[in-house]
């Protein structure tokens, strides 16, 4: 369970290329291997295919019930509607406001939580004070606590503080629940740096903040990329906190999406639903495909957060 075995080495081993039984030429079993993998790949791709083709069909064509068929007539109408005019509960402004909210929440939430976690990890690696380990143990324990156990006390506390249902509220909540895994990530990264680096800086008379800003932050770029991927996808995909803590004004896209689909009045516009789903998935998917191997590292390290 340590990030040692999970994060960087895990990913680099994945990239190191296959090992194990050497393949002979194209044999019966080789064909079997590819058949299995291709079938598995089809299973994984099928929902994406269905989403895309459904979102490009007009409602009459959907009524024909050929869920896997490429549209006879491509229309982008559902996409426009999902973005601009679909109803989420009472409002009918499409996903647009939710998208902007999600962008704001993700940008600010990611930045704040990573700055804090980086500082935490640095302090815990080089400036351990008495009781720091206990605090850290408690924090890591927090990574495994079901959200439902602490959510009500947090609602009460946020109400008292006047940040329940506000933008700062949702940022604080993401910072809190991102902290265990992010701090762990940064702590293990800093702890693995050569100690000479720190010693030399100390000899030169650098203090807590100088070492942090001038040495550690520039060193921490690779792990920060992993952390950014982890937080961006995590915060963007969040649903529970958005529902409970964000408030109507800051409702993120996932919550809006769920409302669009579950609006019970009128005809269910499956094409609009699927277009909305793709729009909501677009950002994490883009992060996934652009970041490639970094994403694998991020999830290997951060799947704990779930």
């Amino acid at each position: 369970m340590s990030t040692e075995t999970m994060a960087a080495p895990a990913a680099s081993r994945i990239e190191a290329g296959p090992r194990g039984a050497k393949p002979k030429s194209l044999t019966f079993s080789r064909v079997g291997i590819y058949v299995f993998l291709v079938l598995a790949a089809l299973f994984f791709l099928m929902p994406l295919w269905v989403m895309v083709v459904t979102s490009l069909k007009a409602m009459p064509e959907i009524q024909l019930r050929h869920i896997f068929q490429w549209p006879q007539q491509i229309t982008f109408e559902p996409w426009l509607k999902a973005w601009d005019t679909a109803c989420t509960g009472r409002d009918c402004n499409g996903l647009k406001p939710g998208f902007l909210n999600s962008v704001k929440i993700t940008l600010v939430g990611t930045t704040v939580s990573i700055i804090i976690a980086c500082l935490n990890g640095y302090a815990l690696s080089f400036w351990k004070y008495k009781g720091a380990n206990v605090l850290f143990g408690l924090l890591v324990f927090g990574a495994f606590v079901p959200y439902q156990v602490v959510i009500y006390p947090l609602i009460v506390a946020f109400r008292e503080l006047g940040i329940f249902g506000t933008f700062p509220g949702i940022i604080v909540i993401h910072t809190i629940f991102g902290m265990p895994i992010l701090t762990l990530l940064f702590r293990n990264f800093f702890a693995a740096l050569p100690p000479e680096l720190f010693k030399a800086a100390r000899v030169d008379g650098a203090g807590f903040w100088q070492i942090f800003f001038q040495i550690m932050i520039p060193m921490a770029v690779p792990i920060t990329i992993v952390a950014v991927i982890l937080q961006v996808t995590g915060i963007w995909n969040d649903f529970l906190f958005g529902t409970v803590f964000a408030g109507r004004e800051n409702m993120p896209m996932t919550v809006q999406l769920n409302n669009i689909v579950n609006t019970t009045t009128g005809v269910r516009e499956y094409n609009v639903h699927m277009a909305a789903t793709i729009l909501t998935a677009a950002v994490p998917l883009a992060v996934y495909f652009i970041s490639g191997k970094w994403f694998v590292r991020g999830i290997a390290a951060g799947a704990v957060k779930g």
Binding site: G20, M51, R202, M274
Partner: protein, 320 residues
């Protein structure tokens, strides 16, 4: 997760950590360190300690919408007694066990199978890995919505196969109380098996190449090597994948809300939904907190187990 906390202990111990010994005089840098980690302190103590205690205490009160701590509000174990006689909760507990066992087993088996097949020096490994992993980038809300659409009896797989002429074909897991949970399992696996595969593939490739040579010389068939020699050697990866999934199962919420909303009826209720409903719509915080405390129980047991395994492993290492 003691392992998590102590993972890097060796690396840190020999470090010139000022103020770490406690015997040294209190330095300015220690103060800076405490200031720097103030959010950590607040979160660790305030959220993961005080909030849990607070929830626990509330579970012994008859709080409705707001927390009530008056002497007359303390009702002892009444909420727990009530919880365990509430049909909705009993179904939730049954469901989480069933869903958990089924989805974890399926996920581990499918993940290992995929990892083994991916390990056969195949072409386009990157492509396959990308395809198996991409669902994990999407939220469970999206996963739930997509699979709900595919499993919709009037439009999805059932309708398509019927359209091909098999008019008796029935495949509509989500509309029946008996089968809805299988639909959730399929969607959950679609979302998460790629991660399991990635972890297990890393584990597979961490096994010493010599083992493979030795097995080959002994003439052991490849499949037996994978099953009986390599699999037991990758305990770390297996445990990682297993714990990740346990945590995910206990928390499962988004998927259910998006896919079945707990239905049909209350057939796919889960503890996480039970808690949220009782602190919001149903305004019965006392009962909700009793349920939340029960949710914490398996997590603590799991962590305890992990600490125990770790402790024993350390002892074996020391005595060796």
């Amino acid at each position: 997760m003691a392992q998590l906390a102590t993972a890097k202990e060796d690396g840190v111990a020999g470090r010139p950590a000022a103020g770490s010994s406690g015997r040294k005089p209190f330095r300015l840098t220690t103060l800076m360190s405490i200031i720097g980690t103030a959010p950590l302190i607040v979160t660790a103590v305030g959220v993961f300690f005080i909030c849990i205690i607070y929830s626990f205490v509330l579970s012994f009160t008859n709080s409705r919408i707001f927390p009530a701590f008056g002497a007359e509000n303390f009702v002892g174990g009444e909420q727990y007694a009530r919880l365990w006689s509430t049909g909705r909760w009993l179904i939730s507990v049954n469901n989480i066990w069933f869903f958990g066992l089924l989805s974890i087993a399926a996920n581990m088996i499918a993940g290992y199978l995929l990892a083994v097949f991916m390990d056969q020096r195949i072409k386009a490994e990157d492509w396959f890995r990308s395809i198996f992993l991409y669902p994990f980038a999407m939220s469970l809300v999206i996963t739930g919505l997509v699979w709900r659409w595919i499993l919709d009896p009037n439009y999805g797989i059932q309708a398509t196969v019927r359209g091909l002429g098999f008019t008796d074909f029935a495949f509509a897991p989500l509309v029946s109380a008996d089968t809805a949970i299988y639909g959730l399992v399929v969607a959950g696996i679609w979302n998460g098996v790629g991660v399991t595969m990635a972890i297990m593939l890393a584990g597979l490739r961490g096994v010493d190449a010599e083992i493979w040579k030795a097995a080959k010389i002994d003439g052991i068939p490849t499949w037996r090597t994978y099953l009986f020699i390599v699999l037991p050697m990758m305990k770390g990866a297996l445990l990682t994948a297993f714990i990740l999934q346990c945590v995910g199962v206990v928390r499962v919420y988004d998927l259910i809300v998006a896919m079945t909303q707990g239905g049909p009826g209350i057939a796919t209720q889960m503890p996480a939904i039970f808690v949220i409903q009782h602190i919001t719509d149903r305004s019965n915080v006392g009962l909700g907190m009793a349920a939340a405390t029960m949710m914490l129980l398996p997590v603590i047991l799991l962590l305890g187990l992990q600490v125990f395994v770790q402790w024993r492993a350390n002892r074996v290492k020391e005595s060796a």
